[in-house]
């Protein structure tokens, strides 16, 4: 393993320190908690605060989406591990401008528990908190058990919609409704060609044999739901679009936003190769691509692979998606 590491135990603190130093025009470190990143535009009096949190190793997610019209505060966990309830609590307090706080996070056991505990702890502070739990990953559970699906790159759209809605002066209830609609309108799939290694563990936690690929891979190194022979980029793109859109059931003519993210070690040019074919297939289904994002938006350390997210737009979501933001991740 050849990596830029000092002490593996310090890697998250060092990541956060470098991040806030780089982007000090947009973000700052929480004064009392070095595992909370706060937007320089927060808290704004009378505006609903937007909070998320998650494990590290997904950069630019989650911290990279802190900023204007996006996330107000982000709780930072260890690599691939939920932040503490205390960090979620501190993030909620930092984001509160008196209009309540929307916690928009992904469906993972640890995050569910820590957010639940933070929401209990916050009650004595009189801050109103409501949550939306992202579950856009199609392969992580069947359509009948959608509530069990994990949240992946669709979370970025959820945050963007939630942040933009809050910027309009909407109430907590309205922000929650829009963020919920955003994630309900998202479907994602991950495809892995190579595993990743937690520096403190020192070896990959699963293997992908040469010539094979994992379909439906999670972005914490969870193996996928099935292993197949590696195919050409076009065939893979076709499969990914099929999985996502078969689950989506969208009317022809629907406008969509598309996000293709690398998982960390896939060259960006290959993501464009995938996107070119994906866009063709998406359009063949009669859908109209309003906006596309291709790049490393939500990674998984140095995993080789990509995710595809398609969000259906409507008259409400489209202008919210187009709202200008200032955050390091875009």
């Amino acid at each position: 393993m050849q990596r830029f590491i000092n002490n593996p135990d310090d890697i998250v603190d060092e990541t956060v320190a470098g991040f806030v130093r780089t982007h000090n025009d947009v973000v700052r470190l929480h004064e009392g908690n070095n595992r909370v990143v706060v937007s320089n535009f927060a808290a704004e009096k009378g505006r609903v605060g937007i909070v998320t949190g998650g494990g590290s190793g997904h950069e630019p997610a989650f911290i990279g989406y802190t900023g204007k019209n996006m996330l107000d505060a982000v709780a930072v966990g260890e690599l691939f591990s939920s932040p503490t309830a205390k960090s979620f609590l501190d993030a909620i307090k930092a984001a509160d401008g008196g209009a309540g706080v929307a916690v928009l996070y992904g469906n993972y056991a640890g995050d569910n528990m820590n957010v639940k505990m933070a929401s209990k702890m916050i009650k004595k502070d009189g801050i109103e908190v409501a949550t939306v739990v992202a579950n856009d990953d199609v392969c992580s559970a069947s359509a009948e058990e959608r509530e069990k699906r994990r949240g992946v790159a669709g979370e970025i759209f959820m945050w963007k919609i939630g942040g933009a809605k809050a910027a309009t002066g909407a109430s907590l209830q309205e922000v929650i409704a829009s963020a919920q609609k955003a994630i309900d309108n998202c479907r994602s799939i991950g495809l892995g060609l190579g595993p990743c290694t937690l520096p403190a563990v020192g070896h990959p936690n699963f293997l992908i044999e040469p010539g094979k690929m994992e379909v439906g891979i999670g972005h914490h190194g969870e193996p996928g739901v099935r292993v197949e022979d590696l195919k050409s980029a076009n065939e893979i793109a076709d499969d990914m679009v099929k999985v996502v859109l078969d689950d989506h059931n969208l009317r022809a003519g629907t406008e969509v936003a598309v996000l293709v993210s690398g998982l960390g070690a896939t060259p960006i040019n290959e993501l464009y190769v995938l996107y070119d074919r994906m866009a063709t297939k998406i359009e063949e289904r009669g859908l109209k691509i309003h906006k596309a994002f291709v790049g490393n938006y939500f990674t998984s350390l140095e995993m080789v692979g990509a995710t595809l997210t398609v969000m259906a737009l409507d008259d409400e979501l489209k202008p919210l998606l187009d709202t200008e933001t200032n955050c390091p991740g875009f």
């Binding site: 135990d9 494990g55 966990g77 260890e78 690599l79 691939f80 591990s81 939920s82 932040p83 503490t84 309830a85 205390k86 960090s87 993972y108 056991a109 640890g110 528990m113 820590n114 639940k116 505990m117 992580s140 559970a141 069990k148 994990r150 937690l198 403190a200 563990v201 936690n205 699963f206 999670g218 914490h220 190194g221 969870e222 193996p223 739901v225």
Partner: protein
Amino acid sequence: MQGIPNKGAGKIVADIAEVIVSNKAYLSEIDGKIGDGDHGINMAKGFGRAAERLDPDGTLTEAMEILSDVLMSEIGGSMGPLYGMMFSDMAEALGDSETIDAESFTAMLQAGLDGIQGIGNAKVGDKTLMDALSPALDALKAANAGGKSFPEALDAMKAAAAVGRDSTIDMVAKLGRSARLGERSRGVLDAGATSCCMILTAFADSITARLD
């Protein structure tokens, strides 16, 4: 009734921490087969930090409170809140009891199990730490009811925890990250059940050693 003084039993938590820290690599290895391989790292970090901070001459109640604080405010993940709640509720149940005996220990473990159920929703058979904890508590209660001595009851608890831990090998995970794998999660131990069995075993050994 056989028992040990609560005062000075803080050392039991240090003994548990020693077991967890020395099994750091093993716990990560089994977690890595169906999870992301960080269970040992986070457990060792949490229990190790608590061991450095606790007063070995203090009470078990105080030591469990310190451990719970570290797990909940510094570790996070899933195990932070789960074991954090377990030790917090066990500390509350033991409270200012002067003696740790079969009765107070059983009540303490029951409170720990209730605490975990309050936050986690896991049932026996879901391939989680509950598969070690729940049968261990049942065995402890049965031994008490059967008139066994405290060390015999602790032995029964230990044995049931190990059987429970091993039962997870043939289970399909229903909760947590490994649940996403369905059938592919079958055939390996659950890391949470394994660490829970270590905790219960260390509890039993450490108490038994002090009873003599």
